[in-house]
Amino acid sequence: MLDMRLYMAQRLSAMAMGPFVLVHIAVMIYAIQGGLSASEILSRTQGSVFWFLFYGLFVVAAGLHGAIGLRVIAHEMLGLKGWSLGAITWGFGIGVIYMGARAVMAVTGL
């Protein structure tokens, strides 16, 4: 079910998400320690190209990784193949990226 391209897409997206997760958690802890409110955090992220790229790439990596993983589970556990397997893969991936992109736009205002 996984060919070379899907395998590499899943592994590379996992590699990308590792540092994203660590930086995200570290920044959250740092921000809370400093006693920043949600509106104060948002005032720092609005208009930031850095956070737009950071969370934008994070969302794309999560959408890719999750969709490919779900594709394997759907095939091995539910026996899906053909168009139904493609629909689950693309539907889940596009859904995650769409919802994530909305969140990124809201946080960065770009």
Partner: protein
């Protein structure tokens, strides 16, 4: 004074022969059910001995497969108490659970009849993974000297004792969920060829194991290595194929 009666190996101290309660799967690809047998227990007895006793003394219609009886040919593998085993080298005492045995045909393969599984899908995938050698020289060329210490030869040697018993294939949960997956034995063979300096086209080996049913589907659960009766390590061989194909990907290959 009365003479002590000698106890034969098949008897216990009470003079009765202990018996094994054996459930044997009977049927064809269309369906079947377990049938119960009582088999005399011996001190030294393999699972194949138990199956043979049933066929010779209880039901001559029982179908099963064996050839060498010494762990060389890979013919006699079956599921024993839910685990794949080479039955000719599996001692009853090591695998019985409360004096009971459940014997079934190999998992992940179609059933021909009773305990004989259809090995065609297993060997078809062995061929699909390119299991045959592609010579890089003719008989007229000089024989290249390859020492056993060469790193590639060490990797290749690690897998060449495979007897194609299909125990790894039956143990693999990825095969169970994904019928197109080539499976541990075929992929280990491909890794052996990839490391063989005399293989004509090692890149083609990677091509054959990088498709939709290839090595990248392995979840690294390791049942193949756990159950391999020859203590081979298909899990590491598959990991080697993943590494080699990933390196080629980063170098701009396929």
């Amino acid at each position: 004074m009365t003479a002590m009666r000698k106890i034969t190996p098949s008897e216990d101290a009470t003079g009765t022969t202990p018996v094994l309660r054996v459930s044997v799967w009977r049927g064809t690809a269309e369906g079947g059910a377990y049938e119960e047998f009582e088999v005399p227990q011996q001190d030294n007895q393999t699972i194949l001995d138990v199956v043979s006793w049933i066929q010779q003394y209880a039901d001559p219609t029982l179908t099963y497969r064996f050839a060498c009886r010494v762990g060389m040919c890979g013919s006699c593998a079956m599921m024993v108490n839910g685990k794949p085993r080479w039955t000719c080298r599996t001692h009853v005492k090591k695998v019985t659970e409360g004096g009971a045995l459940t014997i079934a045909p190999l998992r992940n393969l179609p059933v021909i009849k009773d305990l004989a599984a259809d090995m065609d899908p297993f060997f078809d995938k062995w061929v699909k993974a390119g299991g045959h050698h592609h010579p890089s020289a003719s008989r007229h060329d000089p024989m290249p000297v390859i020492t056993s210490e060469t790193p590639g030869r060490v990797e290749a040697n690690a897998g060449i004792e495979c007897i194609n018993c299909s125990v790894c294939y039956a143990s693999c949960d990825t095969v169970a969920g994904n019928p197109d997956y080539l499976g541990p034995a075929a992929l280990q063979r491909a890794w052996t060829l990839y490391n063989d300096a005399k293989e004509a086209d090692r890149e083609a080996v990677l091509d054959r194991v990088s498709g939709a049913g290839g090595c990248h589907n392995c979840h690294s659960q390791g049942s193949c290595t756990l159950y391999c009766p020859n203590e081979l390590d298909p899990l590491s061989a598959i990991a080697g194929l993943k590494r080699a194909s990933a390196k080629r990907f980063f170098k701009g290959g396929r």
